[in-house]
Symmetry: C2
Subunit: 341 residues, 2 copies
Amino acid sequence: MGKHIGKQTVILDNPPSIIATSSTVGPKEASGPLGEYFDVTTEDELWGEDTWEKAESKFVKETIKDVIDKAKLKSEDIQYIFAGDLLNQLTGTTFGIRDFNIPYFGVFGACSTMAESMSLGAMTVDGGFADYVLATTSSHFCGAEKQFRFPMELGTQRPLTAQWTVTGSGAVIIAKEGGGPYITSITTGRIVDLGISDPMNMGAAMAPAAADTIVQHFKDTGRSPDYYDLIITGDLAEYGQKLLIELAKKEGYNIGEILTDCGIEIYDPDSQDTHAGGSGCGCSASVFAGYLYKEIKKGRWNRVLFVATGAMLSPGSSQQGETIPGIAHAVAIERGISKRK
Amino acid sequence: MGKHIGKQTVILDNPPSIIATSSTVGPKEASGPLGEYFDVTTEDELWGEDTWEKAESKFVKETIKDVIDKAKLKSEDIQYIFAGDLLNQLTGTTFGIRDFNIPYFGVFGACSTMAESMSLGAMTVDGGFADYVLATTSSHFCGAEKQFRFPMELGTQRPLTAQWTVTGSGAVIIAKEGGGPYITSITTGRIVDLGISDPMNMGAAMAPAAADTIVQHFKDTGRSPDYYDLIITGDLAEYGQKLLIELAKKEGYNIGEILTDCGIEIYDPDSQDTHAGGSGCGCSASVFAGYLYKEIKKGRWNRVLFVATGAMLSPGSSQQGETIPGIAHAVAIERGISKRK
């Protein structure tokens, strides 16, 4: 059973364990600073498929296969899959999971989707509804550019605030029993919209949501930033991160020293020409599954607040003059059972 | 706490109560056979907004306001909102819920979304994570035609298997305590794809998923169709319903006599020119919130299996030659506590 505390947080009384993860990324991500951490890397962005969208579904499918193998389970053992992606109507996910026959809850939180799927997956296990749940998301640079921005063939120049959508997928299996790391509490974000309207500066649109959720997490739990070894946002990237630090400081929380961002970690902006950093559902998913999980298991960090962030726009909403609402979901992950309280 | 039984079903040990519903529909739905049941009806499909997409968000917003009022609550009392819609990146929902400050889980199951949001909402309450949860979805005929089919201005002719997307929204509040009706069990669907590829015949694409979920619900619970007074699918409409009856019969279940469909109930095909029937997330949502809930409360039915169905395609996936995967989620709703077992 869970327990709701404060405004937006639940404490999981029997914290579920993340028993396995897997990540698959494309060639650009494989040659970045975290390249060695990813489980599967592909030689090109099509991976033998004839469209980018089909390639994204293959990323989803192969990552799911691999994480189920790593957990030494069969697909019949998984009672629910929580998944979503950036493609219209979540087709990256639909066609990726089609052959697994696992009961499916489609979720969408733009680039916050991995934290959303992990939140719901953990609540489902803690609430007694399942023993094993799979949470996964994906994104694809070419598919996202085509859908959200400009045709790839145009070679359109990008401003320095723009981010680079990660081609990749990450998956985790959340189980009732296991040796950790554990999901111990969850702070669910609300829509925050401070009026940013530049779709080439999504970090700025998401930073207020990240600040809102992180500050609320501290208020709800009575914790201060020093409870955590690491706070890692999804894909605020360079400019969004600076804003987050300022916004949190205004609320009385100094988080700069333990803060990083999946979108900043995954690329080397100097040699990889990725401007502000990575983005996309697959960014926080692959960085969590590939890098964070393994380093938490090794003992580098004991308590991590994973805060994936989403910019909830569509090309249509921007063309109709709308601003960009942001959302951020926080999942507290702790290595040891003795550290759960 | 929940209890997982069989392959795809959970029994809710402390069945949450649906304490209020609200529905808002456009003029076509208001003049249909269920017109008198809907809570708010609009004179036109723009409702004072300058785009169909903004109108859809207004439907969402006003329906949420109304359901919170009906439950005699304030928005601060609602701990989570589970919601989604058909527009790319769920913008109908995002801009509709933006001002409420309620923690938000975006969900997507195409036209199955209402059953998905009610499933997750009920599990969240039963699992101890919340006292009050709001579940809602919407759709808009013009927005859906523009996005999925042809520009409205073309006046393209439609085949008789085509369905008419409902302009409307439905919302429910699911609470830990209340006088019912109760959500007593949930069977979550998986992706089912028998190879239908005609996006003008979505009933045929969704019927196998509906059959799969309904049959599995009976197998998991050990129930037969006569446990229920009514089985109501989301939007299989005329052709899909015939297929469902046949598919269930092949599995040994005769459901024809207690079966209906939200898409069949909402329009009069003879006088309203809606061909096979209604569709869209707003179809099952407004029919549940407007019609079913009120008739269950009155005692017309005691036990209803609400099975919303979704066709998980996008224009892009169809253009790339993909078939149409279907999904169906079943939610068992029972009027009395004494009837819960």
